[in-house]
């Protein structure tokens, strides 16, 4: 339903509405939009404490920056707790079936380049049943912003392991521990030729806004992995990069054109060691000059891939931020404009000509 009513239980400890960074990008002449313009009247129904609330607040806060009226924004989701996201955004929305959101969204985005199309998906939805649609949307560079809420668990179906759960994970479906080796979503996306790949953390409001901003600015498919805490079935999975006291030590923030440093005082960093491999170093020891300078715009994706493998799991120092951001033709864009023009002028005449194409004969 449309309307600006914001009936959901707000302020669940994730900062107050209104304190979000105000963007400096151009806003249309109409009354500036606010977070409230993007909040639907539906009651939010996630578990209290769920990381999804924080993401929702961040996304709603960020949206006005886009300068696009909510009427021209479409959210498309699959099934899962993350999939409920669509109901809380006061935009157009499709809550599809499990795993198929990228395909649904491809239909929306390719036929309507005037719309801003966002996909929200969970780790099961996007990487288990929906893995194929995801990698194809990425290689095609369909103009979609794809947010993967990775909680390393199946929330909605009550706690089975997911393709991002760690090896040996004990869950309802794996009482003796899982046997599968997990995906690293960022590496997978890079292997699938994604043009924009980033990672952020549910509760990190500023970093999330920054990341969404970069994703929105990217032309083509933007893939953003968001570490999301499921406090009911997988609490603490991302504490290393999320909990106060630990995140300061472990978040390696990637910024294009900047040295890759981390730690409270930037005292640690990433450098290329002997044999050409990336290593975590003490800046004091390695020297400033040795530090890697991040290049997100490098067309060749190997650096981004290597960075994604600095941490196999988010349990120690882990890169977040934009891994890759390069230009490539946007799927369907050109044709969309062409078609739009064409269609306006089509009528009976063209149709008649079509039917008469090829050989005809007349009986009188």
């Amino acid at each position: 339903m449309s309307g600006n009513g914001n009936g959901h239980v707000d302020g669940l400890g994730f900062g107050q509405p209104g304190e979000e960074a105000v963007s400096e990008t151009a806003v249309p002449a109409v009354a500036p939009l606010t977070k409230a313009d993007f909040s639907s009247d539906q009651e939010t129904r996630w578990c209290p404490g769920c990381g999804d609330y924080a993401i929702l607040a961040s996304v709603q806060s960020f949206m006005p920056e886009l300068g696009i009226p909510p009427d021209r924004i479409v959210f498309v989701t699959g099934i899962g707790c993350a999939g409920r996201f669509v109901y809380y955004m006061d935009t157009y929305g499709m809550h599809g079936i499990h795993g198929r959101a990228p395909a649904l969204a491809t239909g929306v985005a390719t036929s309507r380049p005037d719309l801003s199309v966002w996909v929200v998906s969970g780790d099961g939805d996007a990487l288990s049943i929906g893995g194929n649609h995801l990698i194809h949307a990425l290689r095609r560079n369909v103009p979609l912003k794809i947010l993967l809420f990775n909680n390393q668990i199946y929330g909605l179906t009550k706690g089975q392991y997911s393709p991002t759960s760690e090896e040996g994970k004990v869950t309802k479906s794996t009482p003796f521990g899982s046997q599968d080796h997990p995906f690293n979503p960022v590496s997978l996306a890079l292997g699938a030729e994604a043009t924009f790949v980033a990672r952020t953390v549910d509760t990190d409001k500023a970093h999330m806004a920054e990341t969404l901003r970069a994703a929105a600015a990217h032309r083509g498919a933007a893939f953003v992995e968001i570490y999301q805490n499921c406090n009911v079935f997988n609490d603490g999975a991302f504490d290393a990069v999320r909990a106060k006291g630990r995140r300061e030590l472990n978040q390696i923030r990637l910024e294009h054109g900047k040295q890759v440093r981390f730690g409270p005082e930037g005292e640690r960093g990433v450098a290329r060691g002997e044999g050409g491999r990336l290593e975590l170093v003490d800046v004091a020891e390695a020297g400033e000059d040795a530090l890697l300078v991040h290049d997100a715009h490098r067309l060749e994706p190997s650096l981004a891939f290597e960075l994604s493998h600095l941490a196999a799991r988010p349990t120690g120092p882990t890169p977040i931020g934009v891994f890759r951001d390069v230009q490539r033709p946007v799927y369907g864009e050109e044709l969309a404009l062409e078609l739009e023009e064409t269609r306006a002028s089509l009528g009976t005449e063209e149709l008649d000509r079509l039917l008469h194409s090829g050989e005809t004969w007349t009986v009188s």
Partner: protein, 603 residues
């Protein structure tokens, strides 16, 4: 069916033709042949004078002549093409030995420009096959065969290819080759290899034989063209895109025989068509549904196996109540089955092949040209009623062609998308508020103030909010059934010229031609009184079907399945309809229906 083999005198066309004739006689077809070789003993190779041809007319009914217009021409070189193309029926099939079309040969045949590149072959179904190369390759390694010798076996390649297309058994031909070249093992092996290579190429490349058999009725005046079912379907979808102003969004994953629709449509950007080759059938139908939400005419097509994969998303479309056209060009199943053969065994799957109660309209075209109108009809229902519609074509319809009296497109009714443009209840917009036909509003993204969210969870009627309330679900389930039941479909028309028939032959889909042909024949030749009727709408059924069925003593329903429509009719009307079932991958023939009719009215 008239097939003409044409090549150079040295190409062995007579041998090929007569061998094919034998194989054809063997499967019980009636036939007549016309060998047609040059007057000169040995005319200059490659020239029109040197062309040797062999024509065979075969069919399931009595054949009186070797046929006027070949339906299929096999041409081994340009000379064969230039001399024979004129006789080929419009829209017929031309199989070319691509290797024969050298500059040199073109010149000798008298072509100024390359007929493979210019518009000479427009309007024909053309298969270009490098027969010589393939034959040479297939015979490589056979001791004692030079590549020159090998090339001479290409007529056997052609025989193999056409044998595959018409489902002729290979054993007799193999035995014949073995016997014939008993004393020349190298030639024998080369010919065997060529024959097999041709046959296998047909299978691998999934070449489909075009067979269509209706006795033509007298043609009313007007402009005609030939179309096959694939083309007509594509034209119909384009027409619906234009008539609705929506623009056609067609997403599909290749599969025989539905891929041909993708190929046909992908050429029509200039008519506002977007085609997408998706990563699979599930993606294709989701893309089409997404496009529908975005305000396009969303269409997807596939064949058997792909329908299974689309079923979950079709169910989503039922819940979302969005327009969507899903085309199933049925082929012989189950599973991969026989991809190039026809069947009409997906009717029950179309009606019931989704979990839960998820009713939707089903339409089936009756002839190749009717695919045009059926496509428009499916789009109309989808758009007006905000519902997925399944259109059931089949391999036979898709590949058969017939002369088509071109419709006056200005008289085709517009399809009004009737987009929602503003609030529909006071200041609010309720996405599941309904009109008289129980259809909900279609509000496309970008429309100010109509933002809403839809999905596959049960929705509260009116608001569209998620609802787990028992009464609401019961209400919505019945409402979804009712709104499909209310789709207006024309009454079933019965053709009962004498008015005294006791037997009604009721068909659906591509059995139309055979049933009409059979009825006309038995009326004319046997003086038998028989009524016919054809169901174009399989769901909802026309209101008068029960009444019609009950007004005949016996009802015969010929189907290319195990009796699926009969199940529906029996359940719906408790009428003891009788099945004639045929599941051999071939269309229903006039002779089949004649036999069934006579068995019932004979004594």
């Amino acid at each position: 069916m008239v097939v003409r083999f044409a090549g150079d005198s040295g190409d062995g066309m007579q041998l090929t033709g007569s061998r094919f004739t034998d194989a054809t006689a063997m499967v019980g077809n009636d036939l007549a042949t016309l060998p047609d070789f040059p007057a000169e003993i040995r005319a200059p190779a490659g020239t029109p004078h040197g062309v040797s041809a062999f024509q065979i007319h075969f069919a399931s009914r009595d054949i009186l002549t070797p046929g006027d217009h070949p339906n299929v021409l096999v041409a081994m070189n340009p000379a064969a093409l230039i001399t024979n193309l004129g006789t080929v029926e419009k829209g017929g099939t031309v199989i070319l030995n691509e290797d024969g079309f050298t500059q040199h040969n073109l010149r000798k045949a008298g072509y100024d420009s390359d007929p493979l590149e210019d518009d000479t072959l427009d309007g024909y179904q053309v298969f270009r096959v490098p027969m010589t190369t393939m034959t040479v390759r297939a015979t490589e390694g056979i001791e004692g065969v030079t590549s020159r010798d090998a090339a001479r076996s290409k007529n056997l390649f052609a025989l193999g290819l056409v044998s595959f297309m018409y489902g002729r058994p290979t054993e007799p031909s193999i035995a014949w080759i073995e016997k014939k070249f008993d004393d020349r093992p190298a030639v024998r092996d080369a010919n065997l290899a060529a024959f097999r290579a041709g046959y296998n190429f047909g299978e691998t490349a999934e070449l489909i034989a075009v067979t269509y058999e209706v006795e033509p009725a007298p043609a009313p005046p007007g402009t005609y063209r030939n179309v096959n079912g694939t083309q007509a379907l594509a034209f119909g979808l384009i027409a619906a895109g234009i008539k609705s102003g929506l623009g056609l969004f067609y997403a599909s994953y290749p599969i025989t025989p539905a891929s041909e629709v993708l190929h046909a449509l992908s050429r029509y950007r200039r008519l506002g068509v977007r085609t997408i080759q998706a990563e699979d059938e599930i993606a294709a139908v989701n893309m089409a549904l997404g496009a529908a939400f975005a305000g396009q005419l969303g269409v997807t097509a596939t064949s058997g196996p792909g329908m299974d994969l689309k079923s979950e998303t079709i169910g989503l479309a039922v819940a979302m109540e969005l327009p969507l056209v899903v085309i199933d060009v049925q082929r012989a199943g189950p599973s991969t089955g026989m991809p190039t053969k026809t069947e009409a065994a997906d009717l029950l799957a179309a009606l019931y092949g989704r979990h839960g109660e998820s009713p939707l309209p089903v339409v089936a075209p009756s002839t190749p040209s009717d695919c045009f109108h059926a496509a428009i009809e499916a789009a109309r229902i989808a758009v007006h009623h905000r519902t997925p519609v399944i259109l059931l074509s089949d391999t036979f319809l898709a590949n058969s062609s017939e002369p088509w009296l071109l419709p006056d497109v200005s008289t085709l009714p517009d399809i009004d998308p009737g987009f929602a443009t503003g609030p529909n209840q006071d200041d609010a917009f309720l996405p599941y508020l309904r009109d008289d036909s129980l259809a909900r509003p279609w509000a496309v993204p970008g429309t100010p103030g109509l933002r809403h969210r839809i999905g596959g969870l049960e929705k509260e009627d009116g608001t569209g909010n998620i609802s787990y309330q028992p009464e609401n679900h019961d209400h919505m389930t019945r409402l979804r059934a009712e709104r499909i039941a209310r789709v207006e479909v024309p009454a079933l028309e019965v053709d009962d010229p004498e008015g005294d028939a006791q037997l009604l032959v009721l068909g659906w889909g591509s059995s139309y031609g055979a049933i009409q042909g059979a009825a006309r024949r038995v009326r004319r030749e046997q003086g038998v009184s028989v009524a016919t009727a054809h169901l174009r709408h399989l769901n909802p059924l026309p209101a008068n079907v029960g009444e019609v069925l009950r007004s005949y003593e016996r009802v015969l329903v010929p189907e290319m399945n195990m009796g699926q429509l009969v199940r529906i009719l029996r359940a719906e009307y408790l009428v003891d309809c009788e099945s004639f079932t045929k599941v051999d991958g071939l269309p229903i023939f006039t002779r089949d229906v004649i036999a069934e009719i006579l068995a019932r009215v004979g004594e």
